[in-house]
Symmetry: C2
Amino acid sequence: MATIDDVARAAGVSTSTVSYVLSGRRPISPETRARVEASITELGYRPNAGARALASRRSKILALVAPLRSDNGVPVIMHFVAGIATAARSYDHDVLLVTQDEGPTGLARVSEGAMVDGLIVMDVEADDQRVPVLRKLGRPSVLIGLPDAPSGLNCVDLDFAGAGYEAVAHLANHGHKRVALVGPPSAVYERRTSFATRVLSGFETGVTTYDLTATTTACELTYDGAATAIAKIFDAVPDVTGLVVHNEASLGPILAVLRSSGIVVPRDLSIIAICPDDVAVDLPLPVTSIDIPGEKIGAMAVDMVMGILDGSQGAETRLLAPRITDRGSCAPPPER
Amino acid sequence: MATIDDVARAAGVSTSTVSYVLSGRRPISPETRARVEASITELGYRPNAGARALASRRSKILALVAPLRSDNGVPVIMHFVAGIATAARSYDHDVLLVTQDEGPTGLARVSEGAMVDGLIVMDVEADDQRVPVLRKLGRPSVLIGLPDAPSGLNCVDLDFAGAGYEAVAHLANHGHKRVALVGPPSAVYERRTSFATRVLSGFETGVTTYDLTATTTACELTYDGAATAIAKIFDAVPDVTGLVVHNEASLGPILAVLRSSGIVVPRDLSIIAICPDDVAVDLPLPVTSIDIPGEKIGAMAVDMVMGILDGSQGAETRLLAPRITDRGSCAPPPER
DNA sequence: TTGAAAGCGATACCAA
DNA sequence: TTGGTATCGCTTTCAA
C-alpha cells in the first residue's frame, strides 16, 4: 500500500501538507489541494488506521457491547445495532462488536488498549457490573438503558416507565378496569434488566392511578410459554379485559392462543403492545402499540458519544417520550 | 496509560524484553518474566492497539460484513454473529462490524486502511459484487455462502443444496408424491442470495430424482404472506401432502394458517423445515428440521481466516452436511 | 501557505 | 538470555 510519503512525493509537497489536506485542519491553496488529491486517487492511497490512531490518539472506532443471546426480542436488537452502525459511519467511525458475555472485562480490554474512542453499552441492568468499570475507564460512553445510579453517566432509551404507564392509561381511557401485563421471560427480570423493570413500575403506577385490578406475568419465548402466561392471567384476574404485552416475540403466539381459546380481539380483550412498530404490524391482527424506536435510539447514542468526544456535551440522560399508534386492537371492554 | 517503556523501567529490563515477554517470541528467564509480569499488573499496563498494529502489521481485528436488514431470519443471523464473535475472541481477535449496505466500498475501506487482518462476509449472492473486490484486496477472507465463481476464495456454509435435496428425500421416503417448497421472501430470490437458490436447486433435484409433483413459492414475512403462500401452493398442487419450509420467520404463521384451515400436521400435511434447531423446537408443534448451525459455521469461518493468516491453509470450500432431526411432523401421506 | 522534524508506542532485527 | 535501536505511517508543533 501507498503511504502518505508516497503521496507527498508524487504531488511534490511535504508529508504534512498531505496530512493537512486530509484533515482540513489548516488552509491549503486550491492548486496544492488539487495536486494532492490527484495523487491520492492515482495511488489509491488510504491512511493506515494503526498509524493514524497512534499519532492522533483517536481510533475512529466505537465499541458496541451488544447482547447476542436471544431470550428477548432479536429484531429489536437488530434495530439498535443497525441504527448505531449507520450513525457511526455518518461520523466516519466504525463499530467494534463486543459481546455481552465478556462482561466488564471486555470494556476494559478495548478501552484501555485505546482500541476504541468511545463505548455504547446495551442491555443495561439495574445494578449493572459494568457501570463502575465504565466510570473508571473515563472514556466517552453511553448506556442504552437506565441503571439504578446513572449519575455522571450518559444514558439514552425509550421512557419505558412512561410507556408502561401510557399503555395502562390507554386501556383505562377505553373504560377497562381489569388489566394485565405480559412481560419478557423471567430470566430478563431476574437479571433486573432495566427496560423490563421500568415497564413494570410504569404499569403499576398506572394501575394505582386509575385504580384498576391487575396482574403481571413473565412470558417465556415458546408457544407453551405464551399459553401458560395467558392461563395465569385468566386465573389471577378471571374477567380481565385489557392486556399490555411487552414481549415482541410472544405477540404472535399470544394472539394464536387467544384465538384458539375463542377470545376475539378487541371484542373480548383489548391488547396494546410495547414493541417495534414493524413487529406490531406484521401480525395476523395489527396491534395498537408503543413503538420501541431502536434505530433512532441507537443513532442518538452515537450522537451523544460523538458529542462527548468533541467536548460539546456533558453527562445527561435522555428518555424518549412514548408514542402510541392506534391500530384498532383496543376497544371498550365488553358489557358484563 | 502506562507504556511499554514504563513497564521496562519499572521491571529494570529493556523495552524489547517486555515485548518478548508479551509475545512469547523468544525465551525469557523465569525471574525476568516474573519481574516483568509483576510490573505489568502493577501498572495495569495494556499494549496500545494502534502502536501494536502499526509495528506488527496486525490489528487483531476481523471485519464481519453482516446484513442488518431483516427480510430473512433475524435469529439465524444472530447465531452466525455470536459464533464469529466468540471464535474470534478465542484467537484473541476482535470483530469490526461492517454493514451490508456499505457494499464493496466497506470492504476496501477497512481492508486497505489495514484496520482489519481478515474479512468474513455473510449473505453472499450468486453474482456478488464483493467477490471481485475481495480478490483484489488480497486479504484473508471467508465467505459464508457460495457465489457462482468461488475459485480462489474461501467459502463455508451449510450444504443448502444438499439440505433441499434431503428434505425432499425425507418426504419421498415417507411416501409423498406431491410436495412444495416454501422459501424466503421474493426479495431474497431477486438478490439471488446464495442459500436461497441453492435450496431451490437441491429441492428440484430431489423432485426429479424421486419423480414427484411439486411447486415452489416465495413467502413474505407477514401473516398475510404466509396465508398467500399456502393458498398458492394448494392452488398449484391441490392435493399436496408434503411441505419443505425454508423460511424460519414464517414457520409460526404457516402453522397458524394451516390450523385455521383445519389442516392437521402431520395427518394431512407433513412439514420439514430448514432452520436453526431452536426455531424448530419453539413452535406450537415441534417440526422435523434440518439444522442451520449458525454458531458452528461462524466459528469455522473464523478458523479458516486464522488458518490463512498463519499460512497453514489455502483456498477451500467447506460445506457442512445437512443433518435431519425428526420431531414427528412428517408422516406417510393420507390415503386418497 | 508550506516544510521539517519530533513524537505516538509498539515490534523485531542486529548485537552482545 | 538480554539490550539497543531502527522502523512502522501518521499527526502536529515549530519555523519559515
